[in-house]
Each structure stands twice: as structure tokens, then as C-alpha cells.
Symmetry: C2
Subunit: 220 residues, 2 copies
């Protein structure tokens, strides 16, 4: 049996979850090292030796190649590992899937992730209502744009792009999971909910979710 991939991730990191989904969809053996970001485990010397950037996710391939940044990791897996492709075969399709992925990974997630969220809380004198309003604003703008596009494009199917899951679904489902955690009304996004339901029937999404992995941080 070949060596597994090693994923340095975190249970509640939606970017790490994207990569878990793609590893699972492709049926690749992997071990995940769960860092507890709230305890600063990603900033300890032990992890710095693995990834000097001290960020998750980071993937170590069986040949020792280190890849960082979730979208670069998913592309790398699609180019080098066996299993179903998470990017379409045609250039226009790949462009669409990358664009949908980036609508989540560039336009929503970075503005609402842990470090920015915490900084907004500091700036707003620990007013948690202001923090929630911040998060809702960017989440809503981003998911509204994604919903409009999924509704309009003829390439939208049971999944973001056609009949099988792609990188775009691996970006969407973890972001929607964060939206659910806010108690916000989600019914403005029927296409997103329909696609998420298709995804959640698959083990690659269900078995890799934070809810399933709770309590597995390292050092516990």
C-alpha cells in the first residue's frame, strides 16, 4: 500500500474541509493532523517546521511535496492523483468551476475568517452584534451573487457544474455550513440549498464535516 497523504488542517477550518472533500471524492488515503487554531497550535515551532507560513491547510504528498492554499491543493490533487476529476474536461467548464470556487474562496471566506472576525470584534469594542452584522453582510453579498449565477447558468445541474461534484461544490458546502451556524434564514438561496443537499448525500461531504470530526484535535 502506498504512503498516505498528510493533511495539516483544523476541524472548523472551512478551507481544510474543502481539501478533505476532494481527497475523499478521489478515494485517496490520507491522515489529517488536526491543529487547534484557537490554542495557537499552528504557530508552534513543531508546525512551523512543516509549513513556515503557519497556515492551514497544508498537504504533504506521498513523495514529500508540500502544497499550501486550498485551491492550489485541490488543483494539484486533480492533476496528479487518480480518482474522479473535480475540474471539468473542457477549458470553458474549468473556467466556470474555478470562477464559482473563487466566488467563495476570494469573495466570502477571507473577509469572514477567524483572524478578520477576531480583529473586527476588537475594533468594535467587543460588540458581538457588530461582529455578527459584519459576517452576515459579506456572507449574504457573496451567496446572493452565487445564487444568481447558479440560477442563470445552464451548466448548473444537481451540483454546481453538471451531474457530479467539482471543486466548486467543495468550496460551497463548507461555506454554507458556516452560514447555518449563524441562524440566518437560508431560503433566499434555493439553488445553493438544493446543490448542498445533493452533496450531503455523498460520504465525501458527510464523513468529512466538522460535526463528524468533533473532538479529534491533536493533543486531546
Amino acid at each position: 500500500m502506498s504512503q498516505p497523504f498528510i493533511l495539516h488542517g483544523a476541524i472548523r477550518s472551512s478551507a481544510a474541509w474543502r481539501v478533505r472533500i476532494v481527497l475523499h471524492l478521489k478515494g485517496l488515503a490520507f491522515e489529517e493532523r488536526f491543529l487547534d487554531l484557537n490554542r495557537g497550535e499552528h504557530q508552534r515551532m513543531e508546525y512551523r517546521k512543516v509549513n513556515p507560513q503557519m497556515l492551514v491547510p497544508a498537504l504533504v504528498a506521498p513523495d514529500g511535496t508540500l502544497v499550501t492554499q486550498s485551491m492550489a491543493i485541490m488543483e494539484y490533487l486533480d492533476e496528479t492523483a487518480p480518482g474522479p476529476r473535480v475540474l471539468p474536461a473542457d477549458a470553458a467548464g474549468r473556467a466556470r468551476v474555478r470562477s464559482l470556487s473563487q466566488m467563495v474562496a476570494c469573495d466570502i471566506h477571507p473577509i469572514n475568517n477567524l483572524r478578520v472576525r477576531n480583529h473586527v470584534l476588537d475594533l468594535m469594542a467587543h460588540d458581538s452584534g457588530a461582529q455578527s452584522a459584519w459576517m452576515d453582510k459579506w456572507l449574504s453579498a457573496g451567496l446572493d451573487a452565487l445564487e444568481a449565477r447558479l440560477a442563470e447558468d445552464r451548466e448548473t445541474g444537481a451540483f454546481c457544474h453538471g451531474k457530479s461534484p467539482t471543486m466548486a461544490d467543495a468550496c460551497l458546502v463548507p461555506q454554507l455550513n458556516n452560514a447555518r451556524a449563524t441562524n440566518r434564514e437560508l431560503s433566499d438561496w434555493p439553488n445553493i440549498l438544493r446543490i448542498a443537499a445533493s452533496c450531503e448525500k455523498l460520504a465525501a461531504f458527510a464523513e468529512t464535516s466538522p460535526a463528524k470530526l468533533q473532538g479529534r484535535e491533536s493533543g486531546r
Copy 2:
């Protein structure tokens, strides 16, 4: 002569500049339609018909294919158009270039772009000092991480990756240009400055810069 690419962009959008650089590097004929984002030209019905997302950049290929999101556009051009490649030939190299690109396009730019910057100004009761501090915080964190990585990786050359410009350089130079506009001391980032100097000797970077294009917004 074949039809040109049409780029819907904006002079001061660093994401649109990334795409201009890649079009120019590849020697592709293109026309740019400059929208004035401050006047809300991207939200008018006329542009909505082109791109229902009302965002720039958006590229229309000679065959009519519309591609949005700057990284998806650069990948699409690299896959479909002639000219020098902006992604390396090997999978590990492509992963590194994508990762460096995303360190700018996901970890810096979205937190400091026009809509977030304006919203921070509103939240902070129009305290422009607080807005500058916000921008400096994320810019510094992002460029510090990028500098460390460029300093450590043996693949770093005259450009971010080896001896010729890639998508990573097309992301870096526009972001550094924004940093210059802040009057911040840049000497903490010697590798970034060295690489930017290599880039700025090339017409693809120099001729496409906001400084060169000033005053060319549509409707003026």
C-alpha cells in the same frame, strides 16, 4: 486578423491589472472597457447585460465565452491562448505559483478592496486613520508571509518562480503598487522589491499600470 479579447476592467482595480499583464505577456490583442467603480458604472444595466455579477474583471473571449474572477481568467488564457505560459510545466511548480498567487488574491486583496475598505470607514465613523490601520494590518501580514516564502524557497528567481514571469508576478505587482500608495516603508520586503523591479522592466507590467492608463475611464 482575429477578433480581440474584450476586458471589462477598471483602471485602479488590481484584479483587472493582473489580467492586463497576462494578456500583454502573451501578446494577445485586447480592448479594455474601463468602468469607473466610484461612479458605480459596474452596477448599471448596460454592464449587467455583460456580467450579471456586476464585478470586474470580466473577459469576453473572441468566441464569446465570458470568464469572470481574475485567477480563473488567467488560467483560462494560459490553457487556451498562444504565447508564453504563465504557469510552469510541472505540477509541483504550478502548485507553487497558484499558492503564491492565492496568498495575494485570497489573503490580502479581498480584505482591503474598495467595498470592504469603504465599509470599514463607515463602521469606524469615518475615521480615516482607523481605515489606514486596517489596510496596513492585512497588507503587512500578507506581504510578510509572501516575503518569507520567497526568501526560503529555492524556486524563487528573478521572478516569483524562476526566470520568467508567471501568474504569481501578475498578482504581486498590482498589490505592491497599492502598498506604495500608502506611504508605508517597503524595505522589510527585499525579495518582493527585487522581483517587482524585474517585472517593471517588462512592457507587460509597465504599459498596463494604472499610472499609464489614467484618464481613460469610459464616458469621459
